[in-house]
């Protein structure tokens, strides 16, 4: 029984990976480049930063970075709770 389930799961995963390999997008030919071109052309003028990655992370997507910082804060709070000292 276990062997049959294992074979079935293997076949399903194999079919998924095989199809994705067959239908792989041709390398070096991105389909939609409007947003990349906008960032590369206007990032330096709009934010004044040489580093386009920083201008995206902290300016265009600052809200996402706020979430990341909050995730780190929550992780620290979780560690503080897990390693707290119980009153005897």
């Amino acid at each position: 029984m276990n062997k049959k389930i294992g074979f079935f799961a293997f076949a399903v995963v194999f079919v998924f990976f095989f199809l994705s390999a067959v239908y792989l997008h041709p390398f070096g030919e991105p389909s939609e480049t409007d947003m990349d071109d906008y960032f590369i052309d206007n990032g330096q003028n709009e934010t004044g930063a040489n580093n386009v990655v920083t201008s995206i992370v902290f300016d265009y997507r600052g809200y996402d970075t706020l979430g990341e910082a909050t995730v780190l804060f929550t992780a620290v709070a979780g560690v503080a709770v897990a390693f707290r000292r119980l009153k005897k």
């Binding site: 934010t47 930063a49 300016d59 620290v76 390693f83 000292r85």
Partner: protein
């Protein structure tokens, strides 16, 4: 938790200040070179981790206090959120200092050698996030090291 041998402690004495300086360099130049607040904060936190590992949590207790790092972590996150709210006259997280000629307001164009005084609020946000990340990662290390410490950590 005991510290490590004298060789490790000597190398740590030589190296940790340079690691901290390198981390703050990455934080300060986040808008010019690869890196930023998260990466530089992790580098500085690795220097503190080196100190804790080589000297042991008992000896380093007076130098690295968990309470101070907790305060600086919270203030870093609050500074980041506050910088986001300062631009709310236009939109949340608006870059209101860029290109105005004041603080971090120099205008650059095209290929340039890199001016530190540019990019508006991005360097300030990098500093805020860097302080938060370095204190947060150091706090995790300190909490885990103090967990099997028999004496009360205040």
């Amino acid at each position: 938790m005991r510290g490590m041998s004298k060789i490790v402690r000597t190398i740590t004495n030589i190296l940790y200040s340079f690691i901290i300086i390198f981390g703050f360099y990455i934080i300060m130049h986040g808008h010019l070179t690869p890196g930023g607040g998260f990466q530089g904060g992790a580098v500085v936190a690795s220097a503190f981790a080196l100190l804790v590992v080589s000297y042991g949590a008992l000896k380093i207790k007076d130098m690295l206090k968990a309470k101070n790092f907790s305060v600086s972590e919270c203030s870093g996150l609050l500074a980041f959120i506050g910088l986001g709210f300062l631009g709310i006259g236009t939109v949340f997280f608006y870059n209101f200092l860029a290109g105005k000629g004041g603080l971090f307001g120099n205008v650059i164009y095209g290929i340039n050698p890199g001016d530190l005084n540019t990019a508006g609020v991005l360097p300030l946000m990098n500093i805020a996030v860097g302080i938060e990340v370095l204190s947060g990662l150091t706090l995790i290390i300190l909490y885990m090291f103090n967990a099997n410490n028999p004496k009360e950590e205040k």
